[in-house]
Amino acid sequence: MTPLLQVKDIAKTYGARIGCTAVSFDLYPGEVMGIVGESGSGKSTLLNCLAGHLEPDAGQVLFDTRSAGMQDTVTMSEPERRMLSRTDWAFVHQHARDGLRMNVSAGGNVGERLMAVGARHYGEIRSQAIDWLDRVEIHETRIDDRPTAFSGGMQQRLQIARNLVTGPRLVFMDEPTGGLDVSVQARLLDLLRGLVRKMGLSAIIVTHDLAVVRLLADRLMVMKDGHVVETGLTDQVLDDPQHAYTQLLVSSVLQV
């Protein structure tokens, strides 16, 4: 099986400070990869480099495109990369406000990606929007409401619907459960797990919440000070951490 995404020696520095350095990994279709680490460990920098929001200083990000096979997304032309980011890729922001158009109705938010790839039939766009709102447990009657009228959890679910409507193959998630209370978090995680498994999505999830990766991720990468300090299967890393920092991280989780 060929990997969906191959990351080779990605490095990004901010002046003399290291954002992330020497990160390499393969992601296979249907696999969910978790990236954990404390604040400032470079996990968001890495994610933004992978998703094309930041230009890495070195390294390659190879993606298995539908048309031309493995392509380096760092060197590909901007139109191609932007096309990729609204068809095969999805990006779920930590703050739903960053990923949604707050002055456009829920239906319009979900429909935007469809219209961006050429859908021009109002009825079909709307029925797909309704279908997706239903999948993320937002009632159909809320379709014409703006996201400003939604709760934080609903906004996050709407953002997920908006991203998945074009059937992407790779989803980048930056702290998808950040800022939500625990019961809402649990429902969102449940929903995400269901969608990822049902659609066979590959995903890269950046979080500092070990419970999130325990539930969602197949594999785990632990970062500290811009370096990857440990990788492995999620259970393996969490239950038998080898690196001192990972041990600290695992032991820091509060038990109720």
């Binding site: 239906g107 319009g108 935007e112 961006a116 109002y122």
Partner: protein, 300 residues
């Protein structure tokens, strides 16, 4: 001021022909030519201060000044009318600074500056229609960043424009955008046709040259003659050039764009052609609307 005692002639000579200096005209003409070469593309230009406030047609005036020749005949309309403030003052401005002939007749004008309307009479080759544009960027109210909208134009990412139309239908059951209705020019650039009613959109495929000037926003764009201009829509909600379902009460025309005039505080209203020249010409030819009186009697 150096010369306090000037004759009217000397005062005239203080102005260059059509107010702007030749270097400025050259710069504007260059932007116009570029605009014509890339139909629908917004060309930045170094807009000058004009002796009128922004929003009063500073862009249109600069474009007109750059294309006017001494032998031109100018017509200026505001919402279709030749006799409203904006039209009268701009016409006077060019009468004074260019000394050119002016007219109210669409067919006799070689340059027509317009605010918010396209004349009813079909324009012909050799005529130039200059639009005053308040906001040239059709994506502005959806995407506030100029950097981003420019990128969207260059990469032809126009999905967002349909989001606006989608919102219209979801809220009003139909595309409620009635003016400044977005168009796609020659299958490439999405363009704001300035706030003309969507009734005028189909007329944009015309024989005359169309130039658009936005003074405050410093943009010029253009549509060459016989260029394809398509109004955006959905397959199941096609574009419709709508107007008030009425005939002109003065001249009886049922094919022209109408203004609704409130007559009193009891809800009486009257519909009249917004194009005053078109209406007057029809009445002159003997057409009379429901509330009109024959022209001969109306002359006191």
């Amino acid at each position: 001021m150096t010369h306090l005692y000037t004759t009217p002639e000397a005062e005239m000579n203080a102005y260059n022909f059509a107010y702007l200096d030749e270097q400025t005209k050259r710069m504007i003409r260059r932007a116009i030519l570029k605009g014509l070469a890339i139909p629908g593309y917004q060309v930045p230009f170094a807009s000058r201060e004009m002796p009128m406030p922004y929003g009063w047609g500073t862009g249109g005036v600069q474009v007109s000044a750059a294309v006017l020749m001494p032998e031109d005949t100018l017509k200026v309309i505001d919402q279709g009318a030749d006799d409203t403030t904006n039209a009268v003052s701009i016409r006077k401005f060019f009468e004074k600074t260019a000394g050119i002939a002016t007219t109210e007749q669409t067919t006799k004008a070689s340059v027509i500056q317009t605010r918010h309307r396209i004349p009813e009479a079909a324009l012909s080759e050799g005529q130039i229609l200059v639009y005053q544009v308040p906001i040239p960027e059709p994506l502005r109210f959806l995407e506030p960043s100029e950097v981003e909208t420019r990128k969207m134009h260059s990469l032809e990412e126009y999905g967002l424009m349909h989001v606006k139309l989608y919102e219209d239908i979801s809220r009003h059951g139909a595309i409620a955008t009635a003016y400044a209705y977005p168009v796609k020019v020659e299958e490439r650039y999405v363009m704001d046709p300035s706030p003309i009613p969507k009734f005028d959109n189909p007329k944009m495929e015309m024989a005359a040259i169309q130039l658009f000037g936005a003074g405050r926003e410093q943009r010029i764009y253009a549509i060459p003659p016989y260029t394809q201009v398509v109004s955006l829509d959905f397959d199941d909600f096609p574009f419709e050039a709508s107007k008030a379902d009425h005939a002109c009460d003065l001249c009886g025309a049922d094919d022209s764009y109408l203004d609704e005039v409130i007559m009193d505080d009891k809800g009486t209203r009257m519909f009249v052609c917004s194009d005053t020249d078109y209406c007057a010409a029809r009445r002159h030819a003997g057409h009379v609307g429901a509330q009109g009186i024959p022209e001969k009697e109306s002359v006191i």
